[in-house]
Symmetry: C2
Subunit: 347 residues, 2 copies
Amino acid sequence: MPNPSFLGSALPLIQAPMAGVQGHALAAAVSNAGGLGSIPAAMLSLEALHAELTQLTALTQQPYNVNFFCHTPPPPDAARDAVWQQALQPYYSELGLLLADIAPGASRAPFSEDVANVVEAFKPAVLSFHFGLPSAALLQRVKSWGSKVIASATTVDEALWLQAHGADAIIAQGLEAGGHRGMFLTEDLSTQLGTMALLPQIVQAVDLPVIAAGGIADACGIAGAIALGASAVQVGTAYMCCPEATTSELHRSALQSPAACHTALTTLFTGRPARGIMNRLMRELGPLSPAAPTFPLATAALAPLRARAESQGSTDFSPLWSGQNASQCRNVPAAEVTRALARGLTR
Amino acid sequence: MPNPSFLGSALPLIQAPMAGVQGHALAAAVSNAGGLGSIPAAMLSLEALHAELTQLTALTQQPYNVNFFCHTPPPPDAARDAVWQQALQPYYSELGLLLADIAPGASRAPFSEDVANVVEAFKPAVLSFHFGLPSAALLQRVKSWGSKVIASATTVDEALWLQAHGADAIIAQGLEAGGHRGMFLTEDLSTQLGTMALLPQIVQAVDLPVIAAGGIADACGIAGAIALGASAVQVGTAYMCCPEATTSELHRSALQSPAACHTALTTLFTGRPARGIMNRLMRELGPLSPAAPTFPLATAALAPLRARAESQGSTDFSPLWSGQNASQCRNVPAAEVTRALARGLTR
């Protein structure tokens, strides 16, 4: 193994945290192969988070990352929920479901003191944050464990904000990236740049190491990101069809089909823009429909539709998260993917 | 000077053809500095094209490129024109203009035998095409002069089509690029990829040299593109504020202001999606309004609004073409920009 990277891992290569499609098994495999495996924690209860970290640390002694969201949960909004349910009513009727089946409650919780209490026992090498950073006090607490703090920027302004507020490194999240845009200082999508445009501007603007994310799927992409000034890279989509991922069979099929050449940013599944493969709901409502409630409240009303449709073999209502480059999605072990990617670090 | 690149120029660096903001002066300056200067010909009459090429060849002995569009001109459509004029009527009223002031006629003509008759006397080193390729007979004629033919691809499918139909090299036009998307096999914007995702996929798919375009604005960007597998790069926006460009003062100001951090694909100005800086018309009608007629018929009804508004110092109705990375737009000579960019070729 070479000397550790600034992330603590042997390789400056992060397996992107991907909620809903992976957990400790993928993270452990990547960390054991020298990369920085990640646990996506935003959708986990405190108990589930504890279980994930316990299982992960039983599988690897290597450094790892745990990822959290930093949104401010919105107040309930019955009026917007009603608009959303009205937009979905035809699908409920079609699938023989009732709006009364919707289980209330948020699908994603932000980082908090309670979460920190769970994490503290594990002292991860790295904590990564999406949608900004936690409060100064919480950030201080995390750093007191020795954990490095990294966070996503989608604009130069966000990168400068993260630097000023104590991040140890910046993830430059280009528009190609799958899943949620990390944007937190703006909701204006006209500010969102491809990696080729965003990365060198952030490298120039900040004094911190910059981690490139978005569209990077092979050794060539990593070599390109390094040449553009990145100190490390974060790769997500290329790991989604590994046996260690928990990606559904339907989602794996979509990623390995021509459908994966058609992605868009959509607010339908959570309320925030996130990139996924086009499906029926996105086509019919429009991927950025104003009917979707505030993040993360859009999810609840979709859950019954998704469950019923998936049970019938349909992805019509599923969030098929994917970046713009699914060309490397194959059913090969994560260690092999990591080794193939690492070749781009030494070109 | 090093050995000529496959393009004939000393440097594998193309100054992107940018109709409306540059002509022979910029092209000559870039070609004389070792890059491949380009004449954008899509908006030129046969006489104007002849004049441009005459002036260019008086200023440089070096290789250059001439760029053409390959669209099929649509039939007139009075019903769509009426919808478009209705959408613009409030602006005509506001500016004291009459719809009767609209001069009919297309703003952009495709490559043709007549155009080839003008170009043949000059035998440019390179001809580049947007929106596909000319007919097999025309392509054969062009190649018989010894001109290399390059063309834009926005998807892997388009790259394979161009290779099968006789292109000598492929321009991989990433989503970051300013001006018109070169897409010609699809109108589906969900297929459009950032350079980081598109470039390595096209490099892998074709046996031809690939020219990277989109988001590349400095030496770092060029080094990144080369690492991603590009054999050459095409840079546009970084040249737009050179003294040799004909970019309007209003457009130059926008490019060098924070407004340039806000771009979008819009169909409003021509009927085809093209990237420009957000302005009032794009905000108020939506950048992809279905009211815009088929390319290139949207332009005619906007011309009076644009002329009147610009005369009053306003860019409300101007196409402010720009890529996503305007960070390098400065009032410095094109030779200096070319030399700065070239440093990325030898890293």
